[in-house]
Subunit: 294 residues, 2 copies
């Protein structure tokens, strides 16, 4: 099976279309790479690009995007609603097929070394590529954001980058890492009150004592209670287990699930796993799926 990696770089520009275009074009023209999606947010002043393709080509593409971002974005003038520390802010590699999370961590280190050495930009490895346990969590790496990190980077040895100089230019610093595919999963309840959705979100999420690879919050969407989630490792915390736990917690408030939704993309295997669970399928293999044999 041909290895295919996903890369989802986040850039600190969501307003100037010509800048966004130049960054995306620089990445998309690398042979072996396909741009699946470009989402710009004006309030966040941030753009998230989804690329898929050959692993080595992806390192080239990500590097080309970072070069453009460093050239075109001046962090001294960047304002936006989303935490950020660099022009190219976060660059995660995600295993899709024929390669592992470890392979993706190796790609992150390879890219990180090049960015540090050739561009002189401080690089922090995070999540599955992290060099230290306290750098696994992106929020910890990005603490203080561009302005705070600029002051601290040369003074606090704890914040020394994994690659590149302990000095920040106008391009800031970049977090490069590896993570499993992320699934955005929302569940709606038959209630027009946000409070039970918030209580259920607390119950199912990792930070509240719930399932390990669930981030969740409760809110009202068009007047209906919603538990909004990111599932950060669907192999170890599968969708069906999250769903069934929500049903149980909802029942405690006399509520039921009315519907759910997947926002964006997800791997086929996440749905195969859910079907196999509910249908009690034993010995099922993805090799039994016709499309995988074509």
């Amino acid at each position: 099976m041909k290895p295919i990696v996903e890369c989802v770089p986040n850039f600190s520009e969501g307003r100037r279309q010509e800048v966004i275009d130049r960054i995306v074009t620089a990445m998309g023209r690398v042979p072996g790479i396909q741009v699946l999606d470009v989402q710009s947010d004006v309030d966040h002043n941030r753009t998230v690009v989804t690329l898929v393709g050959d692993p080595q080509a992806m390192v080239e593409a990500a590097f080309a995007g970072i070069v453009q971002a460093a050239e075109l974005i001046d962090m001294d003038h960047h304002r936006g609603g989303h935490p950020r520390m660099g022009a190219a802010d976060v660059v995660p590699f995600v295993p899709l097929q024929g390669l592992s999370l470890k392979d993706c961590a190796a790609l992150a280190r390879q890219l990180g070394r090049r960015v540090g050495e050739e561009l002189g930009i401080p690089v922090y490895l995070y999540e599955a590529a992290a060099s230290r346990p306290d750098r696994r969590n992106l929020a910890d790496v990005r603490r203080g954001e561009y302005e705070g990190l600029r002051e601290e980077i040369g003074r606090n040895p704890d914040r020394a980058p994994d690659y590149g100089p302990a000095v920040m230019g106008k391009a800031g610093a970049v977090a490069i890492g590896a993570r499993p595919p992320l699934i955005a999963f929302n569940v709606y309840l038959n209630s027009n009150d946000a409070a039970p959705a918030q209580a259920i979100a607390r119950a199912v999420r990792h930070s509240g004592g719930g399932l390990r690879f669930v981030k969740a919050m409760g809110l009202l969407v068009d007047g209906q209670a919603q538990v909004s989630m990111n599932l950060t490792d669907y192999r170890r915390t599968p969708i069906h287990r999250v769903m069934e736990l929500i049903r149980i917690e909802a029942a405690r408030y006399g509520l039921q699930v009315t519907r759910s939704e997947i926002v964006g993309l997800l791997p086929a295997r996440a749905l195969f796993d859910a079907a196999a669970f509910y249908l009690q399928l034993d010995g099922f293999s993805a090799e039994q799926v016709l499309e995988n044999r074509l």
Copy 2:
């Protein structure tokens, strides 16, 4: 999306390996065709081949297989446990992607005309390709088998073939048709008694008053009760509905489902539909599956 058709021709030879090889080779060497599976049964004296590929190439491949079978198999000397009427006995076209059941019926007619005109073999169109309602069911088309049809074909106008002469040679006659993908689905119960499995099979199957596209029987497998099924149109009678009906019927005997299994291949969509049902996914599209975007 490139159209891909499946074809599952059944040949009346399951013992002489050199004959099987020549038939399979003749089909597999057509450019644009892939042989996924070859299953020979000695008792049935029958071989089932699964091919996938380009629709027009598939008509060529099926024709090449029928030519070989007609040349190498003499139905006057064929004995076996499975009903049959010809050397090439049944040739169904199955839509996999980018084409419809109607498109497959057109392929069946195209192949049927060629087989009738060029090979002089009587052809009966069946299922979605049938020219008359009483020829939709394969068992009706094949009534009397090779020996019975040979006597009737020239005398009974009701049994006149759709293509080819109303005369049978040693290659017999062939049924050519179109049908949706078939899913072989077995459900096990916590019982060592075949009787409740048989009662549940009667309840869920079409012939017993149950779901339209379900064929089912109850039996013991390694001492465990099993409901063994063919789902003949998973879009209209989806797996989850069959499963939930079995659960309800089993509960009436105080029994539960212990596990299930898919035998052979199934389309990804059958599992996506099951996941979407149990997870109550609204607005889900196969376009959201990453692998479909690669």
